[in-house]
Amino acid sequence: MSTEPLISIRHIGKSFAAVRALDNVSFDVQPGELHAVMGENGAGKSTLMKILSGVIAGYDGELWIRGNKVDFRGTRDAERAGVSIIHQELNLVDQLSVAANIFLGRELTGALGLLKQREMDGIAADLLGQLDAPIPARALVETLRVGDQQLVEIAKALSLRSDILIMDEPTSALTETEVARLYRVIDKLRARGVTILYISHKMDEVFHLADRITVLRDGRFVKTLNRKDTNPREIAHLMVGRDIEPRERSAAAAHGDVVLEVRNLSLAWPGHARGYRLKDINLRLKRGEILGIAGLMGAGRTELLECLFGASPLAPTGEILLEGQPCRFRHPAQAKQAGIALVTEDRKRLGLFSHMTVRENITICRLRELAGGGIISSGREDEATREQIRNLAIKTAGPEASIMSLSGGNQQKCIIARWLLTNPRVLLLDDPTRGVDIGAKTELYRLMDDLARAGMAIIVTSSELPELLTVSDRILVLSEGVLTAELSRAEATEQKIMEAATASSKGRAV
């Protein structure tokens, strides 16, 4: 391409205290292209995007847009230069309405600086319409579910009508249908000539959308390739710096007897049209089996796992039998006692103790056993930590490193390690690979496989069907809180699953 680049990133570097997040990164983005940026967790993608969008001010190197040097002091400057961003983490104000969030910081005002509420509601409704997302513009964001909140974020970015749009893992909380909608929107935008910088850990997305792909590793620029001239394997290699052979789930390993059985489990949803979050769920889980649970956003996967773990806001009805023993957990402590472990969906919010060290994060569930008479034995604790770090190949400076100094994938491993320490009988993984890079993903798959072989019973949910198909022996499909299909590894296909997932759904209930 000979045209003068729209964005030119020149020798950009950025350090946080100890970490060198970016180091002398340079590449160009051509006008109108969709440029994907890939890299492991902690490669520096988000940091670079934050610099591009004026969120991070102080950095080394230069940033050129439309042939002139820019020096953003804040997001405002970036927006004026026509750059807008969809951040990796949700950045919405729960207490405000959808419209208010979309116009946050850029409210429309009339005389005496009074808000033009009606007008904003109107425009917001249109934007959501473009995304054909059935979200009322005046609803409070806190009443929306995660997926819809992500759509609001997208609408917010669109409302700027800027000609450079950065999307940092926009689909990490979306499921196929919503992703499909997003694709349509992206097409519209590109038709309008908008340039898009796109970050994702999902190869299929990148290869579906991107014109060119830039790979970062450990904060350094590796290579920029045309999509046509490359393949996922090569990209993955460039990202991780070695080949990663996706290991297939050792087909139909011999399973033991039933560990967990659920009979007619239902969970009420007061004050909601549907009336229930879950209805008459029945399932059996055998020792050494990996059971995948598929479903759309809000299908109730998280709730199901929360019920099994005694963490649901309301008490579920129905029976849960653990190795034949009926049990009703009202507190995760009881579930933990009984040998059930839950790796939660939202790492940052529900999992990490960000002010603590790797050691403290890993041992938090196992302290009682590592203590004598209530006093923690630092020796045993350190030993246990190192063992986990070894077994799960966690990349860290050591047990005493701050958990925040780890990349997303390794943080996820720490949380899994935390639960493995309690050597549970049943391991519940709620979307364990959300926002985790491909290298770490394959390692997680291998880990699950090994655990299952060692006789652990695992339930895993995921928003990525290919993933489910790779890891699970059996797949249950949830749709609006009801089990609509049970597919063995042999018969399961993306097609069948999507049918089941949308089976009883006549437009999502909100």
Partner: protein, 392 residues
């Protein structure tokens, strides 16, 4: 918001109004002097006055709370403003201030008032600076000014008069500051302005956003520092304004005791009025109803108990705050009050609480024991019921 439009009787404001009516009715008949019936005018005026004095400060505090901060220094700011006001008048026109014959010129008074308000502006700025530039948590920043400002005011007062108290004996100034018209008009304007600000303007919207999710606000390009600056200035200026009126009320600036602990009343009023200390949630009308409710309750205590009412005031205010906030909670999943170890072990305290309170008011041990044990039994009953529920 849309929901509140749908069924007004579900709104906090409505609940508060009902609660307030109940208090008024109870007081009317529980007060054996029937003050409300004999002197409706006087009583109404007095309650209104207290509500306004509390309300002016609560307006500022609520804005700060909604923006996700807290102001522990408003009480001290009141004392400081009242001292500055008196002090400036004294400095600008010593004879006119001291001498009852010579009257103060309106200009002098206006100038002094302006000075006191400016003081408020400076303190508000200082708060914002401590929080955004030095990076202190709001609690710590305003805690230090809570102790610092009052002591500074005491020092200033000592500079003006050894007694550490500056007496104002200018007839017309006191008249002006205490006249209902002054109060009502100032208050009306303030409430209108603040209500518009918080519910209709960009700043109000962004203040809510700031309180709700600071990073989101920041990433949306909102100048959060400027907003905090605005919030804390509004807070301190409101307090200073109250300080001016307070000088009229007490006709003497005595910083060592003026408005001591008033910040707690203001915060309590805001919380009763539905402001969440986590930030992002709260309305001006709610806060104002909170003030009306709180000052009515305090007035009622005085009416009903009479002698030593001050002694028991705190107890009743505390209980009222707990109940008000409990009922004002929009959607609390909590229902298991008395089951479980914690629940059971709280029952003794509740019994003792009720017992002591009734002891205070009936001065009769048997009644106290009776009511106390009734409470305990009721709680135990409820506890058993809850446990059954949980089982089922």
């Amino acid at each position: 918001m849309n929901s509140s439009v749908a069924r007004p009787w579900r709104t906090l404001e409505f609940k508060l109004l009902v609660a307030w009516l109940i208090v008024v009715i109870v007081t009317t008949f529980a007060d054996q002097n029937r003050s409300y019936l004999n002197y409706p005018g006087v009583c109404a005026q007095e309650i209104l006055r207290q509500t306004i004095l509390l309300g002016i400060v609560a307006l500022g505090s609520s804005v700060i709370i909604i923006s996700g901060g807290i102001d522990l220094a408003s009480g001290s700011m009141i004392a400081m403003a009242s001292t500055l006001f008196a002090g400036f008048m004294m400095v600008l026109d010593p004879t006119g201030f001291k001498d009852t014959e010579v009257t103060l010129s309106g200009g002098t008074v206006a100038l002094a008032a302006a000075g006191a308000l400016l003081g408020g502006l400076l303190v508000g700025t200082f708060h914002a600076w401590l929080i955004t530039r030095i990076g202190l948590p709001p609690f710590v920043a305003t805690l230090s000014t809570l102790v610092g400002l009052r002591s500074m005011a005491r020092g200033l007062a000592k500079l003006f008069s050894d007694s550490g108290q500056i007496n104002l004996n200018e007839e017309w100034v006191i008249r002006l500051l205490t006249s209902p018209w002054t109060l009502v008009s100032i208050f009306a304007v303030l409430v209108l302005v603040f209500w518009l600000l918080m519910s209709r303007t960009v700043w109000g919207r962004q203040l809510h956003a700031l309180g709700g999710n600071e990073t989101a606000a920041l990433l949306s390009g909102i100048r959060t520092d400027k907003l905090k600056w605005l919030a804390y200035c509004l807070g301190s200026v409101c307090a200073s304004l109250m300080g001016l009126l307070f000088l009229g009320e007490t006709s003497a600036a005595k910083p060592e005791s003026d408005a001591l602990g008033f910040e707690l009343n203001a915060i309590a009023a805001a919380v009763i009025g539905g402001c969440s200390l986590k930030g992002g949630i709260g309305t001006i009308p709610g806060t104002m109803l909170g003030c009306l409710f709180l000052s009515t309750v305090i007035d009622a205590i005085g009416k009903i108990i009479g002698t030593d009412s001050k002694v028991y005031e705190g107890l009743i205010v505390g209980i009222v705050v707990v109940f008000a906030v409990t009922f004002s909670q929009r959607s609390s999943q909590v229902k298991q009050y008395f089951s479980g170890a914690l629940g059971w072990s709280t029952i003794p305290f509740l019994g003792l609480l009720v017992g002591t309170v009734s002891m205070f008011f009936y001065k009769n041990l048997t009644v106290a024991i009776l009511l106390g044990s009734v409470t305990v039994l009721a709680a135990i009953g409820r506890g058993i019921w809850e446990t059954k529920q949980a089982k089922a």
